[in-house]
Every structure is written in structure tokens, then in C-alpha cells.
Amino acid sequence: MSFEQLMQHAADIGNKAFKEGLEELMALKSPSYLAQEQPKLLNRCYAEVPGLFQPFSQIPDPASYDPAIETLKRALAKLSTGQDTRDPISTNGGSYYANPVLDKISGSEAYIESWTGKAAMEFKTNFIDPFPSVARNQFILISALKAALEAEQAMWAAARKDIDQIAENTLKALDCMDDCTSKEWAVTFTAAAAITGILLTIPTLGGSAALAISISTVGAAAWVAAALPPSPPELTISGDETNAVLDSMHTAVNKASEVISETEQRIAKALNNVLDAVHGNRDYFVAPRPALVGAVRQTIMNPEYMGYSD
């Protein structure tokens, strides 16, 4: 089976369940009861079953996240300062060669240090000096965004497998109903655990200034150590009677939805924490606008801008 055939599997489940369920009703040898129960069985097999699987057939293609992830990788390559060229968050992350263009900012200090103007001195203090940390923090921020996308990608890939497993095991349980003794198939919900290695490594970034300052020096190891994988939840698809099998399938589908929803919330929470950290410590991520930007040819040599050089 494969995810692309999910709705076909749902139709197969409906057909098989209807056949089995009808034979159970016919074994009662009661025409009036058959007439009463058959419409309910029809509805369950041909409306409820496809209806349960239909939303899952629309879940995103994990490959659709690749272009955005690649874009962020290119951003990481531009922001790599050489302090630590490894992706600090994603377990899928690689190393990014330090971008020599960034060194030119620090190198520009020599050009400006002999100038006397206020803006020239502030440019060094506010822009050149913190630049490595700001670039480093942006590097961390982008890697956090990339990790979130990778987490989404991993979650949907696992969710596809999970729902496919539910459909497949339901069909197996229905296939075995005429072989009397009860059989069971386990369904493991892997969507939550799939992101563990990726998402829990996103730092909370911290609200205090001290923690925010240290952001550029915290290595990946500290965040990875926090990533303890939860044991994935498990249910069984089983039942001696058609409705009981469909009930166990229904419970499993609900659990799959619940796991996806909880996992989405975890990703959202991590991203909100990152966003709060950026909003709360804007200076650590964005250098202040240099006052020199306001200078024009006639004013550039004024004391509030560059002043004079020896």
C-alpha cells in the first residue's frame, strides 16, 4: 500500500466491511432486522469510512517543503560568520562555510577609526562591534526557522505513514474475520516522535538579557541534549465483529488527528518562543540603523556624522 492510494484503501475497507457486516446481519435470519440495520451499515461503510480518511488524503506533500528549506540553507550560507559554521539546531543540518564578505564589516573599522564625528564613532560602537554577534544570532534564527520547516516536513511524512498503516491494518483485520479466532495489528503513531530530533532542539532563546547575549555562544549540544524522544503512542486494530473493527479504526484515526494537532502546537509554541525572543531582544538580531544613513554630501563631514579625519 502507499499513501497515494489512501482513498482507494478507504473504498476497499468500505466494501469489505459492508460484505462482512451484511453476512453478520444475514446470519441473524431476521428479514425485518436486516431491513432496519442495512441502511446503517451502508452509511457506515460508504459515507463514514471515506469521510474519515478524506482529510488525510489532503495532507501536505513533505517534498513541498524542500524549496523553502533550500532557500533558508542559502540564507545560512550567507550568514555564516566562521565562529561556528555548523547548523546549531537542526539534526539534519550541515556545515556552512564562513562567508568572507561578512569579514569586511569588521575590516571597515580601520577606515573609520580616525574620524571624529559622532555618527562615525557610533557606527563603530553600534554597528561594527556587535556585527559578528548580530550575524551569528541571525544565523541561529534562520536555523530555527529551517528546523521548524524540517519538523513540519518530518511530521507530515510520518503522518502519511501512520494513516496508511491504519488503513492497511483495518483491511487485514477485515480480511481475517472469517478465520474465527481474534487477531490484532498494532498501529504506532510516529508523527510526534518524528520531529523530536529536529524540533526540541529549537532554543527557547530566553527572556533575560543575559541569556539573549549568550545566544551566540551556546552550542548545538546544549539544545540537542534537551531532546528526549517521547515513546510513540500505540493502538491496536482488532475486533471480532465488523462494527468493532471499524470502531477500532475510528479510534485510531482520531488518535492520528490528535497527534498531528498536538505536534503542530509544539512546533507553533517553539516558533512563538523564537518570535518572542526576537521581539524582546530586537537589538540582538537587527543592528540599529546607522545614523550615517541620514547624511548627504553636504552634511557628511558635520560633527554629528563623520566629522574630520587626520
Binding site: 480480511d175 478465520d179 479466532t181
Partner: protein
């Protein structure tokens, strides 16, 4: 039909009677084909034949059960052990299975089969005069009818049991 369903429907098991004179092949759940060693059908008696066929039924049931469990296991599933069933419905189902007595017969009534205790206990009866009346090929056909009939009766009773255990409200309402 899924892959497991196809495999179970196509399962083929072969056994040989304890006296070595009869082989039996069961295809799927219903199709029985007997074959006798040359000359055996002409020299056996109804009483010996029913004794040997009773053993053949038991051996076929064991062989098929093993194959089904292997197929289920290969598909990632497992068979629930009756002793470990905890839920009242599961226990009631296993008790109900044990209590089922299925009966089957050939269309002419010459071969009858009873299966009890969830098909663990078998009894085959061949009516007097059958061997004289039926050719070997005719007997093989009668035996196949009786086997098909007992399996269908068992399945019918299991389906009713499923409803009795899991949807008792249907029976309370007079079904």
C-alpha cells in the same frame, strides 16, 4: 480484497490420513479434495473410512490454523490467546466459539460432518451402503459437499455469535 485476504483465500494445505491411504487438500476455507491410494476405496469399509476422515478433518484444521497464523504474523499481526483475553466481550466470544456445534452434510446425506469446540473436535459419518452405491469419484464429490457445508454452517454460527457478543441489543429486540 487486501493482500492478506488474497493469501488466506488462496491458502492450500495438504494432509495424509493416519493409515497413509488418503490424502486431502483444502483450498481456501471451503474446497476439499480427497484422493485415495490405488485400490483403497474398493477395499475399505464405511466405518474405517469415517475414522480416517475424522482424523483428516482434524489434521486439516490444524494445518490451516498454522498457515493462517503464519500469514497473520507475516503481515505484522498476531493471534489473540484466549487465555489472555481480558475484556468481558473477548472472553464471551471465545466461550461462544467453544460452544459452537457446526453440522454439514453432502446433498444426498451420505456423508455428514460435525465440528465442535471451535472446530477442534470432529466427527465424520458415512452412511451404510455408501461405498457400494457411490463410485470413488462420486464419493470424493460428496465429501467435498459435506466439507463445504460444515464450514459454511460454522461460519454462519460464528457470525451470529459476533452479533450476540458485540451487539446484544439486536437480539434483545427480537432478531
Amino acid at each position: 480484497m487486501g493482500e492478506l485476504g488474497d493469501r488466506l483465500d488462496g491458502l492450500r494445505v495438504n494432509v495424509r490420513a493416519p493409515n497413509g491411504e488418503i490424502t486431502a487438500e483444502l483450498t481456501g476455507r471451503h474446497e476439499l479434495r480427497l484422493a485415495f491410494e490405488p485400490g483403497y476405496y474398493g477395499r475399505t469399509s464405511e466405518s474405517e473410512l469415517q475414522q480416517q476422515l475424522t482424523a483428516v478433518c482434524r489434521l486439516l484444521w490444524v494445518a490451516r490454523t498454522r498457515e493462517v497464523e503464519a500469514a497473520v504474523s507475516d503481515s505484522g499481526g498476531w493471534t489473540v490467546n484466549p487465555a489472555s483475553a481480558q475484556a468481558p466481550a473477548a472472553r464471551a466470544y471465545f466461550q461462544g466459539l467453544d460452544a459452537i456445534e457446526a453440522h454439514g452434510a453432502s446433498t444426498d446425506g451420505s456423508v455428514e460432518v460435525d465440528a465442535k469446540q471451535g472446530m477442534r473436535t470432529w466427527e465424520v459419518r458415512v452412511s451404510p451402503g455408501t461405498l457400494r452405491r457411490c463410485s470413488e469419484a462420486e464419493f470424493v464429490a460428496r465429501a467435498a459437499e459435506a466439507a463445504d457445508s460444515v464450514v459454511r454452517d460454522q461460519l454462519d454460527k460464528v457470525r451470529r455469535l459476533r452479533i450476540e457478543v458485540h451487539r446484544p441489543e439486536l437480539l434483545d429486540n427480537g432478531a
